[in-house]
Assembly symmetry: C2
Homo-oligomer: 348 residues x 2
């Protein structure tokens, strides 16, 4: 906070609050906000009815419970009275930001990520262990799916099965379970629909959740019966691109260089226009977080950074492919946390 000239940090919904305190705000209309003044003790302003959810940790913060007829924004404003620079958590709802600005007209507001993102980006050994445990759990699901029948089921049915398996293997929350089949997979963030899977389809499954506070995220591809030559060729290029992305993820490299390493392979194979997104995103307590593996990001990899490497090939009206692992940058080179087989699995 001192380096960034921030007088007070205000954390509400989103991952910053549990990262620093272990307590997660409910994403509802009653304001929860941890007020962290630079020079005094932190106070958690919390709705009275949620105060019993807080396992009080006086070494971390005091609790200030507000009643239904109180104005929580006024409580927060009183706690940071005189602050000139206020950093507010990136996911805080607009209504609360605007109300805080009205209550503190002389303060300058900035995004808390200036303070929090560099801290969260470098994972310690416990965090990497948590990411690894989450990754192994979804690996288990990806491996099982190689033996499951796909033909005759709808995208929604497979989606539902994935959600249940994510909880079964120990996640407390499902974050997403994309099941995109045939031409639907050309939409990278396709919502599961009632399309019935048939022989000849290629199926994209991209799924993950939160386990002990840390996220998993994996993408694997399944072909119902032998795929045709066009799919095989595109998938072969994708595997090389993903491997190139992973191998380029060396401490000291820039994120834009990692993006380029994967992208160059697909451009060389004639799929440059079909790779419509960045190569990856950071991962931790949030499914997508800093740093992003994207053109223009000149940030350098640091040991302890964790991120996805997930190039894709999307051919509208035909099919879509993506292959994704979570990788941690280490002094000894990139460490993949996922190790489910990366071939295009042939399923029934």
């Amino acid at each position: 906070m001192q380096e960034e000239g921030v007088d007070a940090l205000l954390l509400s919904v989103g991952p910053d609050l549990p990262y620093f305190t272990g307590y997660e705000a409910m994403p509802l209309e009653r304001l929860t906000m941890l007020v962290v003044p630079r020079e005094s003790d932190a106070v958690l302003v919390v709705p009275r009815l949620e105060a019993p959810r807080v396992e009080e940790r006086p070494e971390v913060f005091c609790v200030d419970a507000w009643d239904e007829v109180d104005d929580p924004v006024a409580r927060v404003a009183a706690l940071v009275d005189g602050a000139r620079s206020v950093a507010v958590g990136d996911h805080t709802w607009a209504r609360f930001v605007l109300a805080m600005q009205s209550a503190l007209p002389r303060a300058q507001f900035c995004a808390a990520s200036h303070v929090t993102a560099p801290l969260r980006a470098v994972k310690d050994a416990d965090e990497i262990e948590a990411l690894y445990a989450a990754a192994r759990s979804v690996d288990e699901i990806a491996i099982e799916m190689r033996e499951r029948p796909f033909a005759g089921r709808t995208e929604r049915e497979v989606h539902r099965e994935l959600m249940e398996r994510i909880l079964d293997v120990g996640h407390e929350r499902v974050n997403f379970a994309i099941v995109a089949t045939g031409p639907n997979a050309a939409s990278p963030h396709h919502d599961p629909a009632d399309r019935v899977i048939a022989k000849g389809d290629v199926v994209l499954c991209d799924f993950g959740g939160t386990m002990h506070g840390y996220c998993s995220d994996i993408t694997r591809m399944f072909a119902v019966g032998e795929p045709d030559a066009e799919v095989r060729d595109a998938y072969a290029a994708l595997r090389v691109a993903q491997e190139a992305g992973v191998q380029s993820a060396q401490v000291g490299a820039t994120y834009e260089a990692v993006d380029a390493a994967a992208r160059d392979v697909l451009v060389g194979a004639g799929f440059g226009d079909a790779f419509v997104h960045r190569t990856g995103h950071g991962i931790g307590m949030e499914a997508h977080e800093d740093p992003y593996v994207v053109a223009g990001n000149t940030t350098e990899l640091v040991a302890g950074h964790a991120f996805s490497i997930e190039p894709g090939v999307y051919l509208p009206g035909r099919f879509g492919l993506r292959l994704e692992d979570i990788v941690v940058a280490t002094a000894d080179g990139p460490r993949r946390l996922n190790d489910a087989p990366r071939d295009l699995a042939i399923v029934a």
Copy 2:
């Protein structure tokens, strides 16, 4: 917008965007924003990779897809250039609000709910039908649970079963499934834990999801074996309080009067201090939305308003009780959408 003096409306994550357009923004770091200038056509600024998710509806909006290296905030700012008053969706992430304010330094920002909440609060016949269908679905679950065994299972196990049943009966999303047992139920928003349910426990189940875009929300109580006199007496008072709240929900009454109608019963029965929250909340595309049934809310009920009536009694260290139905205000008086039995069900 004219009445509120708003030149441009900016809608991102949250229910306003699907309410007006049918499209829901992904709650991720890539900005989706519908720009609605007062005097010209609406434009949906959307990440390129999510553009295929948009079923383009040119009668509602044009699509402006941005690439990974573009600045979406600059795109939005260019579309509202010259606007003096900008209303931004209540759930929009702080990082985007702050970036928009930097990009439009001469604009005044306010919460979009000034424009959208009064429109969303009055439900039309189709919306009430959707709320009713969702309510009947969770009624079905509440009725089934009366025949299920509770003793020997953990809160987490019952929570998981509720989540699965909410999806089974046709919801596309689980919003919450509170299972609070014994003394844990004295925490109104208790997170399900590993506590094993035993004979003598009273169990609070408060659950709901989103079905065809509209939310369900019900609370029913279960006693494992015959409850003691203290629980029976408190529950009897709670039923009277809930009935009084429902019956007071007449068009033209104020929301604070509805809150008082339920609260007065519990105060009279000696449980005033144990009822630590407001009586209810509006419901629609959002689980909690305007109007709120709370002291100080002098808004009057209008036909088509939908809201919960859910008084509670919380006795720390002992037990907690809540009873909740969704109610619609009509010219003919209050209409309950839930009709699962409201007695304290005795279960095994």
